[in-house]
């Protein structure tokens, strides 16, 4: 199938604005599909008020890949995610999903277009049960499909099966994370955006979340874009990494390459300058 044909088919399948999303497949990951989804940003500029925090970012994430954005604090990583999702004012550049413009599109429409989001921190419905959280995730689906998707989600995250009736607010950090991601997967997103999913979690739990949620989903076909503060753990698993410093991409390379780069310590402990200069020079 030609690229255009694939795109057309994808567009036809994920018609936005319809309340009930008719997607034939019940599997919530992309194993079965042959087409590749691609989310890109082009020279994206965004920020709050008159301050630009994201200063011209080009990134790309495709199906089956785990792409990680790391960088020191204040670099603009979370803001980048929020900009892609239309939660922050965009003053320049574009966001494209399979070639289609989705810049500034509201979050609820992006959900219909197949973009999933797990925000930083408070990402679940605390006062609702696990089952209800999952059901909310499948809000757009018709009943039968929702039930099947829930089953699929529980297969991905079997730990949740025994906890369906528990109130999420009473669960541990790791379990809440899991619920949040499972909730997002209910819509079988083509692209999943995760904002610091391991914040506040211990080292072991961090590894478990990154492997068992981010990496696993990417392996099954979803395009996963992950923003992480805990760079090492994320880089170990990533297919590709962007290092953001001061709102720009200082380095763009496979995860392993970035991890092994001797200057990585510099970037995180203050010396990003040289890398930025060389990034500028190579443009």
């Amino acid at each position: 199938m030609s690229a255009d044909g694939a795109r057309a088919a994808a567009r036809a399948r994920h018609a936005t604005g319809t309340r009930t999303v008719k997607m034939e497949q019940t599997s919530i990951t992309r194993d079965a599909e042959g087409t590749t989804t691609r989310l890109t940003t082009e020279k994206l500029v965004a920020g709050y008020g008159d301050v630009s925090i994201v200063n011209g970012i080009d990134i790309e994430v495709a199906s089956g890949k785990l792409v990680v954005v790391v960088g020191p604090n204040g670099a603009g990583k979370s803001t980048l995610l929020k900009a892609i999702l239309g939660l922050v004012k965009i003053t320049g550049g574009e966001v494209l999903l399979d070639g289609e413009q989705i810049t500034r599109r509201p979050l609820e429409d992006l959900a219909r277009a197949g973009v999933g989001y797990v925000p930083q921190g408070d990402a679940v419905f605390d006062s609702m049960r696990v089952r209800e959280n999952l059901e909310m995730g499948g809000y757009l689906l018709e009943k039968r499909l929702r039930a099947e998707r829930m089953e699929a989600a529980l297969e991905l995250f079997p730990d949740l099966r025994s906890k369906l009736k528990r109130y999420v607010g009473t669960m541990s950090g790791g379990e809440r994370r899991m619920t949040a991601v499972a909730r997002a997967m209910m819509l079988a997103p083509r692209v999943l955006l995760l904002d610091e999913p391991t914040a506040g979690l211990s080292a072991t739990l961090t590894k478990a979340v990154l492997q068992g949620q981010a990496r696993m989903l990417a392996d099954r076909g979803t395009a996963v874009l992950l923003v992480e503060q805990k760079a090492r753990a994320a880089l170990e698993l990533a297919d590709w990494a962007y290092v953001m410093v001061h709102g720009r991409v200082a380095m763009s390379a496979p995860g392993r390459t970035v991890l092994d780069d001797p200057e990585m310590g510099e970037i995180f402990l203050g010396g990003g300058a040289s890398l930025l200069d060389s990034a500028e020079a190579s443009k």
Binding site: P72, G74, A199, Q229, K230, A231, A233, F268, L269, G270
Partner: protein, 669 residues
């Protein structure tokens, strides 16, 4: 319960028949009759409105129960002046019955209402969100009228008190009303004078700071509780005066005169006229209460229903209030902040007297991936002019200038016995089972710059909060300048020289940049009640001194030309500099900087760095929480690394950078 709102029979007789409560032997002309009534009502409403404006417009206290304090004044006056049995043989019951001279009774009314007002301010209501406070006060007002109205034993219930002696009994009947107008007019002028003294000078600035941001006001050493109590006391007193004058004029007082609607009418007058502006309040009160609510009463009835005019009046007032809240919340005459002359560097020129971008010598500057053009644009948008570069002489001169502006206290304290200005010992704090800070200990030696770094969630902000007094620790101690301050209130720590800035800038949005600095002056005679009342002659000289300091700071940071701009309209970088300058005005001995360089352009961040160096050389210590680790390396003699709530390791940044332990902490998080 309070009667239906349509029966607004506040004893303002709308129809021309002589009332038994206004004793006239020789009747005055109808015109004089109405005119004096309206004028007295406008006058007393003005006094009350200025009081409510002081509480709400200037200090931000949404006192929707204000009318209750007016009533307390009226009842106090009445109860003190009327005898136990009425002249006409009526059997009215009171709680007290005395025949106190009118003047004394009025003073008593003022005092009682003032005390009552301050009392309300002491309750826990102030910890609630502002709309909850407002709602609770509104309900208090509603219930109060109801309770009094239902109980004959309380001020004679719904019937109220009557035959209240007019304070001007000694004046002939035919002239009494006009003399009353005169007395009220004089009292209005006195009130305006008093209120202006309170709201126009340094005290007014401090009150507005409390209104704009209570936490930031605490951080610059203001006692928020004290200021609120003061304002509520004075507001209550003015309400009481208004009430006493009304009761004396009308001769009667009952619950129908002090329904919750009255407060709302005053509030609307303030909103429409101009919140926070005394002149605006006059306009709002005269227009709304005078012309509108009062005046309409004298129009002929419509369709045989005399109350219809009332109803229309309220409907229109309601519509106006909502319209103004939507479209012009600042009112007809918005609050205007004073503009100050700021000297020759107004235009942003004067390159010589400014912290430059490049240092002549010393550690390498922070470089940026931005092109030169972008750098210029960024710098320009932060209000910082570009220098080509400057020499060490200029840098040194700036540092000396800074030392002259601040650090007077640090210099005199230099000989003190303690080695460490700050000793933090085993502080801990948990939130719902999560240990945000876990037995952390570190020190800051006198006159040094210590860095506090660590990944997100390491507990740095909580530690800063504990040190500055905004967060109470579960365990541990904080010793500042040799004194244990663990139990000391946050605003007192600020006054002693332990000053903090905030991560998310907290400027006083409705004050100008210059005023933001002035309000942070550590001691100002004009901020006490006595000082404010004594006027400019008393505090003017000191104000000049503080102005000089503030101007110097503005110049040093290169934002002189923004001096008279409202802080809310400043750019992000300028607001950040405001935080720093405001902290410096307090003459700190230890400055807690919470990520001062986050989101700043290079030019501005350099400025902040230079200021830190200048401070250190003046003997002021700095505890710097920062993610900009290159800056931390340049500035700090010692760096404390926190992770998971406790102190991981300490040392020089260069060594820490190489430490696997630290790298792991940052990488793993």
């Amino acid at each position: 319960m309070a009667g239906p709102p349509s029966a607004r029979t506040r004893q303002r007789e709308p129809r021309p028949h002589p009332s038994p409560y206004v004793r006239t032997e020789r009747p005055i002309s109808p015109f004089a009759y109405y005119a004096t009534i309206i004028l007295v009502y406008i006058g007393t409403d003005l006094i009350a409105a200025w009081g409510l404006n002081l509480e709400f417009g200037v200090t931000g206290i949404p006192n929707l129960a204000f009318i209750v304090f007016v009533a307390s004044g009226a009842y106090t006056y009445a109860v003190l002046t009327v005898g136990p049995t009425s002249q006409f043989g009526g059997a009215e019951t009171y709680i007290i019955g005395g025949r106190v001279p009118a003047f004394v009774a009025i003073v008593a009314a003022v005092v009682v209402s003032g005390a009552f007002g301050a009392l309300i301010g002491l309750t826990g209501l102030r910890r609630l969100r502002l709309d909850y406070q407002a709602l609770t006060l509104l309900i208090i007002s509603f219930v109060a009228t109801g309770v009094v109205g239902a109980n004959n034993s309380i001020f004679n219930g719904l019937d109220g008190l009557s035959l209240i002696p007019n304070p001007l009994e000694f004046v002939a009947e035919s002239q009494r009303a006009w003399v009353y107008v005169g007395v009220v007019a004089v009292l209005c002028i006195v009130t305006l004078f008093l209120v202006r003294r309170l709201t126009d000078g340094p005290l007014g600035r401090a009150l507005r700071a409390v209104r704009d941001d209570e936490d930031a006001a605490t951080a610059i050493g203001k006692s928020v509780l004290g200021l609120r109590l003061l304002v509520q006391g004075i507001g209550g007193a003015l309400a009481g005066l208004s009430g006493a004058l009304l009761a004396g004029f009308i001769g009667g007082w009952s619950p129908s005169a002090w329904g919750y609607l009255e407060t709302l009418a005053l509030l609307t007058a303030i909103i429409i006229g101009g919140r926070g502006s005394n002149r605006g309040v006059v306009v709002g009160t005269v227009l709304l209460l005078g012309a509108f609510l009062q005046g309409v009463q004298y129009l002929p009835a419509i369709g045989g229903r005399p109350d219809l005019i009332f109803d229309f009046g309220w409907i229109i007032v309601g519509g106006l209030t909502i319209a103004f809240l939507f479209m012009r919340p600042q009112g007809i005459f918005p609050e205007r902040r004073p503009r100050y002359a700021v000297g020759e560097s107004d235009a942003g020129g004067g390159a010589s007297r400014r912290f430059g971008l490049l240092r002549g010598s010393g550690t390498p500057n922070r470089t940026s991936a931005l092109s030169a053009d972008a750098r210029t644009n960024e710098a320009a948008s932060s209000g910082v002019a570009m220098d080509g570069g400057r020499d060490d002489e200029v840098v040194e001169r700036d540092r000396v200038a800074l030392a002259g502006v601040v650090a007077t206290r640090a210099r005199t304290e230099q000989a003190a016995s303690y080695a460490d200005i700050l000793v933090v010992e085993a502080i801990s704090r948990s939130y719902g089972g999560v240990r945000a800070v876990d037995s952390a200990s570190f020190t800051v030696p006198k006159g040094s710059i210590v860095g506090l770094i660590g990944p997100n969630g390491a507990g740095k902000s909580t530690a800063l909060g504990i040190i500055s007094g905004f967060i109470r620790p579960d365990a541990g101690s904080v010793t500042f300048a040799g004194v244990d301050v663990t139990r000391l209130a946050a605003h007192r720590r600020a006054r002693r020289g332990l000053v903090r800035t905030f991560q998310l800038t907290r400027e006083f949005g409705k004050l100008t940049l210059l005023e933001n600095l002035l309000v942070a002056a550590r001691e100002h005679r004009g901020e006490s009640l006595f000082g404010a009342l004594a006027g400019r002659r008393y505090w003017g000289a000191e104000e000049e001194l503080h102005l000089e300091r503030a101007r110097s700071l503005l110049e040093l940071f290169g934002v002189t030309h923004q001096a008279n701009k409202l802080a809310a309209n400043l750019s992000g970088g300028q607001k950040r500099m405001l935080e720093m300058m405001r902290a410096l005005m307090l003459d700190p001995q230890l400055l807690l900087l919470d990520e001062p360089m986050a989101g700043l352009s290079t030019a501005v961040a350099d400025r902040v760095e230079d200021a830190c160096i200048g401070l250190r050389e003046s003997g002021v210590a700095v505890l710097l929480v920062e993610h900009e680790l290159a800056a931390v390396e340049r500035l700090c003699s010692n760096v404390v690394v926190m992770a998971q709530g406790n102190v991981l390791v300490e040392g020089e940044m260069a060594n820490l950078r190489r430490s696997k332990l630290v790298q792991e902490a940052y990488f793993v998080g």
